[in-house]
């Protein structure tokens, strides 16, 4: 079953040598570029060199790992050592959302954003305890393989294939979107072109060598992404706290941030008083947007939605015409107005969403600064009441205070419930996403599969426990060095980014006092990671490195996902169901053709820019959790689970999850009332419950599975049994 110790050890040592050499080479490459930058190489060229060099590198590994062997193609020959499988899983797992988005989400939402940090790491405990060792012992190629063998018949396998495709495809769209974004940002190509350039990068890795090529490129990608993430954060930490270990040092920065939050919220302090003037302006703006929204709603109610939309658009067009007709045309204003007209929402629903967003933004800035570390803050009804009463010089009635308190508590409790639901969905989803589970088929033994989960989480952990530190350090920098500084001498990174992209960094002197107030700054989440090198005062070459890291994160995840989809179709549908006698060459050809088709389809869907990325990612987790987790876990831990149970459970779980999303996510426009206040991104909690009930009830009302299946369960439970059956697929 497993290769002799000596050959495995030799292979491991050889890999260690290769990757040490590779890491050294990569660092040398960065240093050479840094020297060239000092000698005057322009930033744009550095960006190009970085992207081209890394994609060529991945392509090189892909070509070197090309294979025509089925086991090599599907599971990398089952000889990936635990440590390297851990790195590959890390890269497979950490997507553009983790690399670029995570620290920004934490910056913007504080404690409430930690649901992602916990959810995306804690899931590995479930992988380790419930799935990885048992799936490795089973030892075939795909997750539907296990469902097919454990529950018998084509139906459980087919539902598995369908679910694997739905959740992987949803997720891959988010990844290709990230690839397009990074390529276009750092090379100046159009977003649509960037998508296809990135796609070429994805395909060169997986097309020739399947899982084998993907595994070895993912190890290389992990090394790049972790180096790229750490360097700027460590530097920033030294700059701010004098301590090179950001994960420890940021406690000090957090105290600084908390103190500053108090000062900014204190109307008696200089800074606090200045904030109040800006907040008053935001309050007025929020009221204006409210009026506009009211007019829009009335028009829609009266059935004049389309006319209202046309009227608003005409106003914008008129403004542009007026500007152009002015005796001395203001170029900047004309440019702005042209953009307003070009990006004007297509219909009245989109217009409403845009205005609603503006109103929410203004309202948020009109309020006090939320505390970074505070959990589930209420809506502040009690505070407001006390403040109003104090202004009038009276004490509020006890009933009114109690009512405000209850209101606050209700909001806070609902936040807590949603936080828990999201953490649960992300965790269980982690333990159900086929592209991750598949990775544990590639280790040499059950023993290594267990160790490999540990290495996987360890490598993921390195990035995830750094992100909260980065968020706090960046906040410290903004609160202490940007707020209160003069508009005449803004830090370079602020003026650079606000010139490049207003959605990432926007800063306007609203109260015309010449000084920066916190409420005058608008920051987009992605800015935090992208701008850290500049905030820390590092040369441009490090920015290029960060872009290469983000690209590595997005490419590696997209690779794993595309391979999962293509394998589900070629192995589970074509080979297992349509033509079990197909030759090896034919199977691999079918797989590669499908990979190409799926990749192009995914890129096409991405170029249409559907929906919100964070929702797409969350949806993929909820769907995977509902469809797979109950059937997989009960398949190992409950011998009584059978065919009917699996079919009922998987259908009910997936069905309910999709139904709830359709009913409540605004994109679909139904907007039915929420169940227990749970947001659509966490629809998986209902799907998961339905899945477990379905498997249990379905199994109990039908006969127990036969002896062979019971033996298969025992086979999976024990790493080695005397007279054991062999289910390893070759």
């Amino acid at each position: 079953m497993s290769a002799p110790v000596s050959s495995n050890m030799a292979f491991f040592n050889q890999l260690k040598k290769y990757y040490t050499f590779y890491t050294g080479g990569f660092i040398a490459f960065v240093i050479i570029l840094a020297i060239l930058e000092q000698m005057g190489l322009p930033p744009k060229i550095i960006g190009y060199i970085f992207l081209a060099a890394t994609i060529l590198l991945y392509a090189g590994i892909g070509v070197m790992s090309k294979t025509a062997d089925v086991s090599e193609y599907y599971v990398a020959g089952r000889r990936v050592p635990a440590l390297f499988n851990g790195m590959a899983t890390g890269a497979d797992w950490m997507s553009a959302a983790s690399f670029i988005g995570m620290a920004g989400t934490l910056y913007l939402t504080g404690y409430d954003g930690l649901a992602f940090v916990m959810g995306w790491t804690g899931g590995y405990v479930l992988v380790a305890l419930f799935l990885a060792p048992y799936l490795r012992k089973f030892g075939q190629f795909t997750i539907p393989d296990f469902l097919g063998a454990r529950y018998g018949g084509h139906l459980p396998r087919s539902i598995g294939v369908l679910a694997a495709i739905i959740c992987s495809f949803t997720y891959v769209i988010a990844q290709i979107y990230g690839v397009g974004l990074i390529t276009s940002r750092f090379t100046g190509l159009e977003f649509g072109v960037g998508v296809y350039v990135g796609l070429a990068g994805i395909l060169v890795c997986s097309f020739l060598g399947g899982m084998r090529a993907v595994t070895w490129t993912q190890v290389a990608q992990y090394i790049i992404l972790i180096v790229a993430y750490m360097i700027p954060v460590v530097w920033l930490s030294v700059n701010i706290t004098g301590n090179p270990i950001p994960q420890i040092a940021y406690g000090q920065a957090l105290s600084g941030v908390t103190a500053k939050e108090k000062e900014l919220n204190d109307p008696k302090s200089v800074l606090g008083a200045a904030e109040l003037t800006v907040r008053a302006i935001h309050k007025e703006k929020a009221a204006e947007w409210g009026e506009k929204l009211k007019a829009l709603d009335e028009a829609v109610k009266a059935g004049n939605g389309a006319a209202f939309h046309a009227e608003q658009k005409a106003k914008v067009a008129q403004k542009l015409a007026d500007l152009k007709a002015a005796p001395a045309p203001d170029e900047k204003a004309i440019k702005g107005a042209t953009k307003d007209l070009d990006t004007f929402p297509a219909d009245v629903t989109a217009l409403k969403a845009k205005w609603k967003g503006a109103e929410t933004g203004a309202k948020g800035k009109a309020g006090a600064v939320p505390a970074h570390a505070a959990a589930f803050s209420g809506k502040g009804a009690e505070k407001k009441l006390m403040k109003e009463a104090a202004e009038k010089g009276e004490t509020p009635a006890p009933e009114a205070v109690a009512k405000a308190k209850a209101e606050d508590e209700k909001v806070s409790n609902s936040k807590r419930l949603n936080f828990i639901a999201l953490v649960l969905c992300l965790m269980v989803g982690t333990a159900s996403l086929p592209h991750i589970l598949m990775r544990y088929y590639t280790t040499p033994s059950v023993r290594d599969a267990r160790k490999s989960v540990f290495w996987s989480l360890f490598f993921i952990f390195l990035l995830y426990f750094t992100a909260p530190a980065l968020a706090v350090l960046a906040k410290y920098e903004v609160y202490h060095h940007l707020v209160g500084s003069s508009f005449a001498s803004l830090p370079a990174w602020v003026s650079n980014w606000s010139a490049v992209n207003a959605t990432l960094m926007k800063i306007v002197d609203m109260n015309k006092d010449g000084l920066v107030q916190l409420a005058e700054i608008t920051i987009g989440g992605d800015l935090i990671v992208l701008a850290t090198p500049e905030i820390a005062g590092l040369p441009y070459v490090i920015s290029g490195l960060v872009a290469a890291g983000g690209l590595a994160a997005a490419l590696s995840t997209a690779d794993g996902l595309l391979l999962t989809i293509a394998n589900a179709l070629s192995h589970d549908v074509y080979y297992k169901m349509i033509d079990p006698n197909a030759s090896t060459i034919r199977r691999l050809t079918v797989s590669k053709v499908l990979l190409l088709i799926v990749a192009i389809l995914a890129a096409y869907v991405t170029s249409l820019k559907p929906g919100d990325i964070l929702f797409l990612v969350g949806a993929a987790f909820s769907l995977a959790a509902s469809a797979f987790f109950p059937a997989l876990v009960l398949g190992v831990f409950w011998k009584r689970a059978n065919y009917v149970g699996a079919v009922v459970g998987m259908t009910a779980g997936l069905g309910l999850c999709m139904y709830y999303m359709y009913q409540t996510y605004e994109f679909f426009g139904v907007l039915a009332p929420l169940w227990f206040d749970i947001k659509p991104i966490s629809a998986g909690v209902f799907g998961l419950a339905a899945g477990f009930v379905g498997v249990i009830v379905g199994s109990l009302i039908s006969p127990a599975p036969n002896k062979e299946i019971q033996e298969l369960v025992d086979h999976c439970r024990y790493p080695n049994l005397e007279g054991d059956i062999n289910t390893n697929a070759a």
Partner: protein, 87 residues
Amino acid sequence: MQLTEKHREYWSRNLNLTAVLLGIWFVVTFVVIWFARELNEIVIAGFPFAFYMGAQGALIIYVVVIWFYAKRMNEMDLEYGVHEGDD
């Protein structure tokens, strides 16, 4: 393939270990979240406790839990003679 008493004992010890580790996972995740507002009152080295758990503490415990499970199970495989061939 006949399972012996020893095999059953291996499996039940595995289930016990799984249950205990799952309990730890549950407490550091969900119990801490449930009481986050109260636990945040405790501040250690600049970190409110629940915030620290969510940002780092729980993550460290997850890593240790998985490490311990792998170590313990790999030892138990040998103890009960259900380990795989050469490695």
